[in-house]
Symmetry: C2
Subunit: 577 residues, 2 copies
Amino acid sequence: MPQPLKRYFPILQWAKTYDRQILGADLMAAVIVTIMLIPQSLAYALLAGLPPEVGLYASILPLVAYAIFGTSRVLAVGPVAVVSLMTAAALGNLALQGTTEYLIAAITLAFMSGVMLTLMGLLRLGFLANFLSHPVIAGFITASGILIATSQLKHILGITAHGHTLPELLTSLMAHLPETNLYTVTLGATALAFLFWTRKGLKPFLLKLGVTPRLADVITKAGPVAAVAATTLSAYTFDLAEKGVAIVGTVPTGLPPLSAPSFSPDLWSQLFLAALLISIIGFVESVSVAQTLAAKRRQRIDPDQELIGLGTSNIASAISGGYPVTGGFARSVVNFDAGAQTPAAGAFTAIGIAGAALFLTPLLFFLPKATLAATIIVAVLSLVDLSILRHAWGYSRVDFAAVATTIALTLGLGVEVGVSAGVILSIALHLYKTSRPHVAEVGLVPGTQHFRNILRHKVKTAPHLVTLRIDESLYFANARFLEDYVYDRVVCDQPITDVVLMASAVNEIDMSALESLEAINSRLKELNIRLHFSEVKGPVMDRLKRSHFLDDLNGEIFLAQYDAWTKLSNSDTSQAA
Amino acid sequence: MPQPLKRYFPILQWAKTYDRQILGADLMAAVIVTIMLIPQSLAYALLAGLPPEVGLYASILPLVAYAIFGTSRVLAVGPVAVVSLMTAAALGNLALQGTTEYLIAAITLAFMSGVMLTLMGLLRLGFLANFLSHPVIAGFITASGILIATSQLKHILGITAHGHTLPELLTSLMAHLPETNLYTVTLGATALAFLFWTRKGLKPFLLKLGVTPRLADVITKAGPVAAVAATTLSAYTFDLAEKGVAIVGTVPTGLPPLSAPSFSPDLWSQLFLAALLISIIGFVESVSVAQTLAAKRRQRIDPDQELIGLGTSNIASAISGGYPVTGGFARSVVNFDAGAQTPAAGAFTAIGIAGAALFLTPLLFFLPKATLAATIIVAVLSLVDLSILRHAWGYSRVDFAAVATTIALTLGLGVEVGVSAGVILSIALHLYKTSRPHVAEVGLVPGTQHFRNILRHKVKTAPHLVTLRIDESLYFANARFLEDYVYDRVVCDQPITDVVLMASAVNEIDMSALESLEAINSRLKELNIRLHFSEVKGPVMDRLKRSHFLDDLNGEIFLAQYDAWTKLSNSDTSQAA
């Protein structure tokens, strides 16, 4: 089989060893994920401001596309909370919820995100995701969880409220609080309490009753389905819709319709940034789940091919009436725990959801929206982890600043501003740190050939010899800093005849830094001080050889710092004697 | 004297030792700089699209302000070519040249730039200038020189032409070429030829005639003044204005008027980016001249105080009818060579220019604009140095990309786009490089305690022990790369029991990287491989101690790589025996 075919169609790798045993495992996992996905897909569509059937549509074709193009064996693709929130934020300014324009914009967003992800995959730009640092992602997910949970409170209370930021949401909720519907809030609070209990208390309870752990797991996962069934039944029995409880209403029956995105340049330019952020956030979330789960089974995933897998999933979503999708954390873990062996499990899940779209939608008529809101709140509160603030504070102020800013701006100004600011701040703080590098004056650790900071260790030094270890690559941002540092160090001390720059931590010297080194060399020459280097790395030395710097150098290059010490400190001892 | 007073008013440091001898030197330098500055200030005002007297105004109060607040002893502040070009580019879209609005916008630009520079100085943000890498600056200056020289060709040809980019300028020049005025082109070409000759050929000629080098220098510097005098005289004698030669016309006589910037929020937001770029480019140009000249006399300049010096100069320019100024390269070198000892030389120059504004302006009526254009062209062509492209190509492709992009975009899309793109590209390329760090597998250089790359040196290794030297700080952009690298290295080789990460080049481990190290540690643990570290630096170790990482670490921390080798390779030998 030709290599490119294998690379771009990972299905060809696992399909040839597919057997009855793997089929059994995949089918079992698919059943459990389907049970979990039906209420989730309806709820996340609601969160995105879309009709509930759109959530089902986004859980069919995209899963098939990922089964063909994805490299993770267990990633469960579909609607997820954070991306649904970002979709709502992106579309909220463009069109009113419930209009055709809103739906078309959602489809277009999925298509744009799909094209972007696929292109990034083909161009092998997977590394770009690395510029979202862990603290920024952690802060963003936490803040998104808080925003999502708050945004769903209106459904629990049975009131209307709007807003894409925490202050907006809270103000709106407070203003409409007097309109709270008692039937809705009773039903919503009961559903919430039940779901929290199934998540925390049900499994220990079942185990105590003697149920096998495996079965207890499946029953626990079915909690949301039970809540959906029970509340739908009560809404039907007690005619709660008449009493002001919002219900889902008519959900069209049938397979996803064929759909097409808009190609309006106006719409594309309005959605561009949102599509880019959704693509990157979705990819980062998905790839880290996939990597974590792959490592547990000693499998590998290919980030660039993952981009293609998620990209084609989103394009598949766009042509089948769906909205942006990605790999979900909770769902993938369930899929993994349930024993899914190949992406075929995802395709079987798609068949399950298609069955639901064909046969179950009439049953959803009386489903209260408060129940869906309760499933969302319970799901997203597990994402909220403010301890990241404490950890970051303890480890580094810079990381703390990035997390705190991301959380504050996401809550205060919305998801797009929050995550953009987090990325920019991470990069800016990193550049700031490297622009003022740590420089240590080092001496010989007695009895070794090892050199350490004179301020931290008891080391030998020679009065006329200064050895500076530069703890940073030399590039434009810190070139001038070094110039000043060396100059300051040598002018304040009289008997210095030799300066050694220990370059063991210098991984790069760019042209700006080279000019600074030339300036240092010529200044020291005027002061009758020789400039030496030690432990210059191979790649850096290669580059220096291509310039004139080594010809003009007023000193030597030593392979090891110990060689420099032996030669330069000895000559001193003899001078001193 | 209180320290802050001394810091913010460098004049207090040099004024107390001022004596008659220094006065003599400063006066001599001031005379030479004044002679050079009169035609330059008129010409650069023309380049900025402003009336000629504005150039004179910008050469009076700003020099006095710099003498009080600046730290360089020899920097000559005033209108310079690149900043004049940037001023023209910024104002060209706002108002028509010659209108009051245009002049007020120029004054406002100087004021905004002055406020920005002063604030940056007070906040000690001088390091920000470091993010303009040398190649970007070199490329920008070269491209600006080409743009400026091209923009002045219209005055030499006596035609009208417009544009802020090379294609615009060339198209416009070609379109109007048939309107060339023969008198103008004759006069302009003669002036050009004469000025080139005074720059290159006059000094050797005078020396051959037996003139002292000192006098030859002064005569050479007076070349532009001679050209101005001769062409003004011919314009007057032959009534060239009647024949279509553009002349300067009435220049108001008198000292600079008191002026005030506009405080319209609209204008401020339109000029914001331009003011910021002018401030940064002006500062970088100025501070590098100042540093170079200070080093020659073993003096120091303080970049943060320089920001205040240039900031107050620009504010002084704004309140006295001027436009943005900065320290000029050629003029400062002349000031230095002429023997200026203190910034008082600048103040004396200001008096000279004030004298010119009071008494000489009537003589400028017949001065042909072509002469001024010729002085500009000769001055800026010395800035054009395309050899930077060749040097950068030879040294590093990354630096080359930054230079080439800056030059291409400055010429093709204008100064603001060019320099912004250069800065962004420098940073992006730097991040890209650090996101894929160099990792070397190292072994012991026999007979030493030194470890080098196994691919470049003959070194000793042990089969069960892998030592990886990571040549980069570990941070969010490369955290995942390391995870993959270590994993790939250990799964392909069977007998590995120990991995040592040699951290001599790791200057930082941020939270993202810490999480990656934790992931590496737990994965290796599952594979029964121990993970060790060696040569971890003090600041990095301090931070690791604040996390749980060291408690969970499945191996040891060695002070020196040689200690790790001694312990881990010996245990192998005994195993092998």
